[in-house]
Every structure is written in structure tokens, then in C-alpha cells.
């Protein structure tokens, strides 16, 4: 049997959260009633003309910059011609030759195995409207009627095209996740896969391992989550291997991922594929991005996920904690504040896991809980100073998150403070030893087992609040003493 190697490239569409659409002044707002965020331009009324949105150009340049792309000095818009009811002009203003950003890369890591995925190009285009097909099929063919909402038509859309450098579904998922993190850190899009503000198309082909020749590829669309991306690609790899092992050939075609059944099905073959008749958009002038503009974009570059990872590692966070911090600015602020205030990095990292669980359970945000970095510093001091056990500390943290007050207030109110005064504990130890003379005899004869029992008795007598370390020391010392 041949050993097969998958070759994967991903096209990602990202809707930019600009104030207005790509080529007109309509707001970018999906909460509106259908067909209310529209005007002559985005409805393609006769005579209307596009004007490029500078904020969107800023947005795509920041993405290109973050992906280590070369930002073009001169860039051109093209018309991509195809007829579809939700495309008002029946051409999409897009880019073809001379896109805004070319030749970049993203570093990814799958379980400690790093790799670099090349970025071919990042280009600017506009989104289509939404078709709502009425009837059983849910698709345009066989629909009883189709309702059109043009609120989304003309929303700025950035397309990021990767090189075919990806070799597994896990890598594809890691690539998608890292791209999503980068776009979010830049603040240019909410990049929500489930709402379609970020969308993936996966190009998959199979070749014999070591071969230089690429196999025939398929393009899979309708992938609405990172998990689906991984599943769809795994399915497609397995399907193509089965076809090739069975002596068949893979057709070049567009396939549709079905989330429910977990399979891809053929949408259209290459023979039916369109000739888009690209030509330069005469209604828009070439874009000139001067060096000053490019420098300004570079200067505004925020701390990217890869930089954050390095920094949090430097602060003492382990890999799991780092992942949490990179994905959440709120948690990162808490962590940095607490560690900066002197708290132990590892302990704070463990607590953040509790915090995340709390936030998920209660569907809330850090801000809404009132938990601050200073609370974590205080909690850490209490634990380190032995006034709080590790278990009690987690309970106190829960109380703080629930809004019951500072750690000290919560610990007192819940009566969780440890007795760490040796004199106070000594009295209890004496009393327990006095009641357990036979246990002491055993210990003195060399059987150390009853020490645990005696410690347990003391803890029980103090309602669990005595510092177990001190209790242990006192019991041992007194039992073995004359």
C-alpha cells in the first residue's frame, strides 16, 4: 500500500468590524431589520459608484503586517464577474493581481511540534447579501422562494490565502485558531466562526509520501467551527485515500461540509466552474500605500499572540496557563497584576483555571465578578502565610468571585482561617494525647502508624482549621517525648 501524505491550503474570509461598509456609508450592523442598512451603492442601483473605505484598508494592512507580509506600494481592485441574486452588482469588487499584502507566514504549534505556514496573499473584497431559501431543500435549487437581505452586502471582507504548507487536520486547526487569535488581538474583527464573520475554505489533496507532484485538490466549503475544520479535513483525507487506494481518481471539485452527517458532498465540478472574467475596476483608482502609511501600521502593531506567549512564559506561566492568557485579555491582566504584585505564578495559574470554570458556569465576565489582581495577591499571601489551606483558598476564591468581599472578609465570614498559633494548637494536642495513651505506647515502641490517627483527631477537634503542618510536628514531638 502506498503511504499517502495530505497537502492542505486554507482560504480564510474575515469580515472587518468597520464603522461603515467597504464602498459606501452604510453601517456594518447585523442586528438591524433586513434591508435597512442599505443605500444606492450597496443595492447596486443604476448610477451608483463605490468609494473605498480607508478604515478597512487600515484593517487589512494591520492583518498583513501581523502575518509578516510585504505591504504593497501599489494595489489594484478588480471586478470578479458572476451572477448570483445576493450579489447586487453581479460582480464582486475584489483583488486579483497586485493584492494589498503578499508573502507572509504564521507560526503554529501542535502539541509541542512547531511549524511555519506560508501566507500567499491577503486581499480586500466585499461581502455578499444573505439568501434565505424558503422550502424543503434549504438551497437555491428547489426553493419555493428566496428572500434576500442586503444588510451584509458590501461589508469589508479580507481573504487570507495560505500556502499549501499544512500537512494534517490538526495543523489546519492550529492555523485557523492562531489566525483567529491574531485578528482578534488586532481588534479588526470579532472573527466569530459560528456567526460567519470568519469562514474557512479548505483545499485538500493527497500525494504519495515524498513525491514532489501534487495530487488533484478539492475545496471544502461551509466549515463553521475550528472543530469542523479539523473533522472536514480528516474526512476529506480519508475519502481521497480510499478513492486512490481503490484505483480511482480524485475529481477537482468544490465540496460541501455537512456538520450533521460529518461528510463532504460534491457541490460542483471544475467543468461547471466559473470564468470570473477579472478586469481592473474602472470606478476605483489604484491604491497607493506610501512608506509613511506602512510605517504607521507597523508602529501600531499590538502585542501578537506569539509575543504574548513568550512574555507569559517569562513570567513563569506554564503552557496551559499561557494558552489561557493568550486567549483572554481579562485573564492576562489579572495574571500580570497578581504576579507583578508578588503572587506566586504557579499558584495564580492554578486559580485562573478555577476562575475560567466559574465564568463559564455563570456565563459572566471577569469585570462583572469584581475579582481584581489585588485579591489574588492577598489570597496568595494568606496561603503562603499559612492562614489558609490550599483547599480553603479555592473556596475563598469562589466567594470573592461570587461577590462576597475580599479574601480576608470571605475567609472570616466562612470561618476558613487556619489556627496557626502553636500555643493554641498545643492545648488541643495535649488533650488528644491524654485520651490516647495506648496510641502513644505504640509510637514509643516504634510503630509510627497511630501518628496519622492522632493528627486526624486534632484536626477534627479544631474543626479542620488547625495548620496540619504544625499539628503534625507537635504530635510527633510530644508522643516521642518522655
Amino acid at each position: 500500500m502506498t503511504t499517502w501524505e495530505p497537502v492542505i491550503g486554507i482560504e480564510t474570509h474575515v469580515e472587518l468590524a468597520t464603522r461603515s461598509k467597504m464602498f459606501c456609508g452604510c453601517p456594518v450592523d447585523f442586528g438591524d431589520q433586513p434591508n435597512t442598512a442599505v443605500c444606492p451603492v450597496c443595492l447596486a442601483l443604476p448610477g451608483a459608484l463605490p468609494v473605498a473605505n480607508e478604515e478597512a484598508i487600515e484593517g487589512i494592512l494591520s492583518i498583513g503586517d501581523a502575518l509578516n507580509c510585504t505591504l504593497s506600494e501599489t494595489s489594484l481592485f478588480y471586478r470578479k464577474n458572476y451572477f448570483y441574486p445576493d450579489l447586487p452588482k453581479n460582480y464582486q469588487i475584489s483583488q486579483y493581481t497586485f493584492p494589498l499584502c503578499v508573502d507572509g507566514n504564521i507560526d503554529i504549534d501542535v502539541d509541542g511540534d512547531p511549524s511555519t505556514i506560508g501566507i500567499t496573499r491577503v486581499h480586500m473584497e466585499e461581502d455578499t447579501g444573505k439568501s434565505l431559501h424558503q422550502g424543503d431543500t434549504g438551497r437555491i435549487h428547489g426553493a419555493d422562494a428566496t428572500l434576500l437581505d442586503f444588510n451584509r452586502a458590501g461589508v469589508p471582507l479580507v481573504e487570507v490565502v495560505s500556502e499549501p504548507d499544512i500537512r494534517s487536520a490538526e495543523q489546519a486547526r492550529a492555523y485557523g485558531a492562531e489566525l483567529q487569535r491574531i485578528v482578534r488581538v488586532l481588534g479588526v474583527s470579532d472573527a466569530k466562526l459560528e456567526e460567519g464573520s470568519m469562514r474557512f475554505d479548505a483545499n485538500v489533496s493527497i500525494k504519495p509520501a515524498g513525491s514532489e507532484t501534487l495530487g488533484t485538490r478539492t475545496e471544502t466549503k461551509n466549515v463553521n467551527s475550528l472543530r469542523s475544520l479539523q473533522r472536514a479535513i480528516d474526512f476529506e483525507i480519508a475519502r481521497q485515500i480510499e478513492v486512490l487506494d481503490g484505483g480511482g481518481t480524485v475529481d477537482q471539485e468544490t465540496r460541501h461540509w455537512n456538520e450533521g452527517t460529518g461528510v463532504t458532498t460534491s457541490m460542483r465540478s471544475k467543468e461547471e466552474s466559473e470564468d470570473y472574467r477579472y478586469f481592473q475596476e474602472p470606478d476605483l483608482l489604484p491604491l497607493h500605500i506610501d512608506s509613511e502609511w506602512r510605517e504607521a501600521v507597523r508602529a501600531r502593531r499590538p502585542e501578537l499572540p506569539a509575543d504574548k506567549r513568550l512574555r507569559f512564559h517569562g513570567l513563569g506561566a506554564d503552557t496551559a496557563t499561557t494558552a489561557l492568557l493568550v486567549d483572554s485579555a481579562d485573564l492576562a491582566a489579572l495574571y500580570e497584576g497578581a504576579v507583578g504584585g508578588g503572587a506566586d505564578p504557579r499558584t495564580v495559574g492554578n486559580w485562573l483555571t478555577e476562575v475560567v470554570a466559574f465564568l463559564r458556569r455563570n456565563e459572566t465576565t471577569v469585570d462583572a465578578t469584581g475579582l481584581g489582581a489585588s485579591d489574588l495577591v492577598e489570597l496568595d499571601a494568606m496561603t503562603a502565610g499559612a492562614s489558609l489551606s490550599a483547599t480553603a483558598a479555592k473556596e475563598v476564591l469562589g466567594g470573592v468571585l461570587a461577590g462576597e468581599g475580599t479574601p480576608q472578609v470571605v475567609a472570616e465570614a466562612r470561618d476558613l482561617l487556619q489556627i496557626s498559633d502553636a500555643t493554641e494548637i498545643e492545648g488541643v494536642v495535649d488533650a488528644v494525647l491524654a485520651d490516647n495513651a495506648d496510641a502513644i505506647d505504640k509510637i514509643r515502641s516504634g510503630d509510627m502508624k497511630p501518628i496519622g490517627y492522632l493528627v486526624g483527631q486534632v484536626m477534627q477537634a479544631t474543626g479542620g482549621k488547625a495548620d496540619p503542618k504544625i499539628v503534625q510536628e507537635l504530635v510527633r514531638a510530644k508522643a516521642l517525648a518522655d
Binding site: 447596486a44 442601483l45 459608484l49 464577474n81 441574486p85 434576500l148 478586469f279 474602472p282 483608482l285
Partner: protein, 493 residues
């Protein structure tokens, strides 16, 4: 007594401000003229009597309040029906837009309203401005007021005929390959294609975006300048509009041509040009020389291929521009069993044969495997034409030629021969490809009594110089003839 409809815009403006007559009177004179001539001409698709009357009344109120600053205040103008007008049916002479009432005004239209102009109505054109005779209209052809057996030229034939007949004091058209200048030439009016970008295209139903330009049609050079000044200037809604200062269009109309270097274009003034047109052109050039201009012959070798390049570039752009007419959102819809069939049936029924011919031509020229041989090659020719003009302007200030190879031709003479029709624009197309300004001035009549036009071309933003020479051409020609349909015998009959 002078019929007010025969005044120039400058004269009418003077009369309005002097209180000799009102804007309502002036409009009434134009509407009377239209009432007499429209049965013969069909220059208008819509006459907006109510809207125009309201605008004239508002103009009278402003005049009474002492408004002195707006030269078009109270002046009736006719607009080509590919200029989008809020609430007034706009069809571009196509069945596919029958009944469409736009929800917005184009920029030029809005500026005319701000200038106080009175919009009389919407004029006929070749469907989507594709043609040179105003015969390709879904609503029937327009005739030439000089001889109703001939065409008025096109595609802005409706506006040209309306201005020549006196049904409006001035008009606006669009010029993609000569669609203002050629009908101006055939109707004895002054027609201007400004520098590409000088007038906003926002609200002009696109034919070929890189070539389309709105411009005025007037009875005199000064009127044309006044009309152009009202609409010129940067528009944030048109990314291709010129952002700098508008040239001083009417700044030097009386400055003469002494010392100017004028080049007569060899390729546009020889083979294929009617001898009478050529004779009139030579006479004008001689007069310019007498007036002190230094006249030389200039060659623009690439213009030989300009017509061919134009008939690839314009159809290619139109194939995309007209894709939006699909029956989904507005205009005609012919139902089908599925969406593709609905779109195909709508477009098949809604577009006329010339529009379909150009969409097919343009779609083919852009197709994979043909793009480079056709569209790519045409773009290279366009670059060469631009270079020819640039080289020529190193040695001369302006270029001149006939506007049209012939005077008005009989109705139906070229409808079955697209190539013959396309050749009508051979002298005008190069300026659209280069983006430079050009205009036509009437300079005489041929033996049949039909007007002959003379073309003046200038470098980009050279409007001041162009109008200066045009004014000299006008003075020299002393052209005072009026279209037969506009003369008093016909009007009073």
C-alpha cells in the same frame, strides 16, 4: 417680438435679472416650443411639467429676493435619461428600466438643482448610450430638427435635438465615444466632453466607466461654459472625480488665439471624411491662422487603432456594468422556473439588440483564453493613444479636427450596418481613450443645409484654453443659422 425660447442662456439670465420676464415665462416658451416640435422630434422621454413649474416658481422667488450669483437660476435645461433623477422616471431608453423612479439624484443633477436650473425633462438616447443616432431607443427614435428625415446623432441625440429646437435653453448628455460631440455636430449645437473626472459620474447610469463623462450641450460656446461650470468639481461619491481646483472654464473666452500653437490631426482630417466637412474644417483652420494662431499638421499614428480598441474596452466594461439589471431588485422581471432562467429571460426581454451585441462582445473579450488577445491588446492600444497625445502636446497647445466624418445621415441608413454606425465616432473616440477634453462647435452648413461641426481638443484640464479657441472658432464662423423646426414659420404655424 423675440421668442424667449430663442435666447441664449446668457441673454435669458440677463432678462430674468432685469425683470423683463419671469422664469415661469421662460419655461412656458420652452414648453410651447416642445409642444410644437415633439410630434416631429421625440427628443423627450419625459417632460416634467409639474416639477419644472415648481422649480421656475422657486427661481422667480429667488430672483425677486435679489439672487444674483447663480447664472443658471431659472434656466430650463434638458437631461439625458441616463442621468438619475429622484422621483422622475429614468430608463436610459431601455425596456429593462421601464417605470423605474430613482430614490436619489445624481451629483450633476443635484448641482443643477442647487444652481437653480429648471429641469424640463428627460431626453431620449440610444439605449444605455450605445449608439450614434438615437435610433437604438426602446421608446422610438429621435429626429433631427434641421431635417426630420435625418438622425440627430447619438447617443445624446435627445438633448441635442431639444436644445437645437429651443425646447430647453441648454442640455446635458454623456460622452463615452463621442455621444455629446457627434450629436452636437449633427444638430448645430456646441457640445463638450470635459476632462475625465471633471464632472462626477455619480448618478450617471454607467455604460463604460473608464470612458463615460457628463457634459453640456448649448447653443453657444459661452452657454456651454456656463452649463459646465455649474456641474464641474470634485465629488466625494465618485472616486475617479478630479480632486483639484476646477479650471477657469469661461475665464478667457475673449482672449483670442494669437500666438497659440494649434495642430490639425492628419489621421482625423483626411481619408473617410466627407469633402464638404473637410472643406469647412480647412476654412476654420485658415481663419484661426489669420487670427494669429500658429497652425501645423500633427500625426497621432495610433488613432488608426483607436476605434477597434474602443469597441473592445467599452463593451468589456459594459458587460459588467449592465450585469446588475437582472430582475432581482428593480426594473423589468420576467419569471422563470429557477433564478438563472428568470435572470436570462429578463435580460433577453429587457435589452435591445445593440445592447445584447455589446454585452456578448465584451463578455467574450474578457473570457479566459481570449482576454489577452482582445481586452489586453485594446488596453495596450489605449496606452499608445495616450502617448500619441502626450507627444503631440509637447509641440502644440491644442489639436483640432472635424467632429463627425459626415453631417446628419438619413434615418435608418446605418441601422443594419453596425460597423458603419461605429465609424461615426472615429474622430471623437481618441479623446475618450486619452481622457482629455474635447468639444464640437458648429461652423457652417453643407449643401443640404445640415450643420457641420468642428472639434477642438486640449490636454487634460485644458478647458480654459479649449473654450478660448472654441470662442474664436465661433466668432470666425459667425454661425447664426437655426434648425428649420426652430424657425418662426414652423413655430407659428
Amino acid at each position: 417680438m423675440t421668442d424667449l425660447a430663442d435666447l441664449t442662456i446668457l441673454e435669458a439670465g440677463g432678462g430674468l435679472r432685469a425683470g423683463d420676464f419671469s422664469a415661469v415665462d421662460l419655461l412656458a416658451a420652452n414648453l410651447r416650443r416642445a409642444a410644437v416640435t415633439e410630434a416631429h422630434l421625440h427628443a423627450f422621454l419625459v417632460i416634467d411639467r409639474d416639477g419644472a413649474t415648481r422649480a421656475a416658481e422657486e427661481a422667480d422667488a429667488a430672483l425677486a429676493a435679489g439672487d444674483e450669483d447663480r447664472p443658471l437660476l431659472g434656466i430650463p435645461v434638458a437631461l439625458k435619461d441616463n442621468m438619475v433623477t429622484r422621483g422622475v422616471e429614468t430608463t436610459a431608453s431601455s425596456q429593462i428600466l421601464a417605470g423605474w423612479k430613482p430614490p436619489y439624484d445624481g451629483t450633476a443633477v443635484a448641482r443643477l438643482r442647487e444652481a437653480g436650473a429648471v429641469i424640463v425633462g428627460k431626453t431620449n438616447l440610444d439605449e444605455f448610450a450605445m449608439g450614434s443616432s438615437t435610433e437604438n431607443s426602446a421608446y422610438g427614435p429621435t429626429r433631427n430638427p434641421w431635417d426630420t428625415d435625418t438622425v440627430p446623432g447619438g447617443s445624446s441625440g435627445g438633448s441635442a435635438a431639444a436644445v437645437a429646437a429651443g425646447s430647453a435653453m441648454g442640455g446635458f448628455g454623456s460622452d463615452t465615444g463621442g455621444s455629446i460631440r457627434q450629436p452636437a455636430s449633427l444638430t448645430g449645437t456646441v457640445g463638450v466632453k470635459p476632462t475625465y473626472g471633471l464632472v462626477s459620474r455619480y448618478g450617471l447610469i454607467a455604460f463604460a466607466s473608464s470612458l463615460d463623462q457628463i457634459g453640456p450641450i448649448g447653443r453657444t460656446v459661452a452657454d456651454a461654459a456656463t452649463l459646465l461650470e455649474a456641474v464641474a468639481g470634485w465629488d466625494p461619491l465618485d472616486a475617479t472625480s478630479y480632486p483639484g481646483e476646477v479650471p477657469a472654464i469661461s475665464g478667457s473666452l475673449d482672449a483670442g488665439v494669437d500666438g497659440l500653437r494649434i495642430g490639425i490631426v492628419t489621421e482625423l482630417s483626411s481619408e473617410g471624411i466627407d469633402p464638404q466637412v473637410l472643406g469647412a474644417t480647412t476654412a476654420v483652420v485658415d481663419r484661426l491662422s489669420d487670427a494669429g494662431a500658429e497652425v501645423t499638421e500633427v500625426s497621432l499614428p495610433s488613432t488608426e487603432y483607436a476605434l477597434s480598441a474602443y469597441y473592445l474596452i467599452a463593451p468589456a466594461e459594459c458587460s459588467a456594468n449592465l450585469a446588475r439589471f437582472d430582475g432581482v431588485r428593480y426594473g423589468l422581471r420576467v419569471d422563470g422556473d429557477n433564478v438563472e432562467e428568470m435572470m436570462a429571460k429578463t435580460r433577453g426581454a429587457g435589452f435591445g439588440p445593440e445592447v445584447i451585441r455589446r454585452i456578448l462582445l465584451g463578455t467574450y473579450a474578457l473570457s479566459a483564453g481570449y482576454y489577452d488577445a482582445f481586452y489586453g491588446q485594446a488596453q495596450r492600444v489605449r496606452t499608445l493613444v495616450r502617448q500619441d497625445f502626450a507627444t503631440a502636446y509637447e509641440n502644440v497647445d491644442l489639436l483640432v479636427s472635424p467632429t463627425s466624418p459626415t453631417t446628419a445621415f438619413p434615418v435608418g441608413a446605418r441601422t443594419t450596418d453596425p460597423i458603419a454606425m461605429y465609424y461615426s465616432d472615429v474622430c471623437t473616440i481618441p479623446s475618450n481613450l486619452s481622457g482629455d477634453p474635447a468639444m464640437s462647435i458648429p461652423v457652417g452648413l453643407d449643401d443640404a443645409g445640415l450643420p457641420i461641426g468642428f472639434q477642438v481638443m486640449a490636454p487634460a484640464l485644458g478647458e480654459e484654453l479649449m473654450f478660448r479657441v472654441a470662442a474664436e472658432v465661433e466668432r470666425g464662423a459667425g454661425f447664426t443659422d437655426r434648425a428649420s423646426l426652430a424657425t418662426s414659420e414652423v413655430v407659428d404655424a
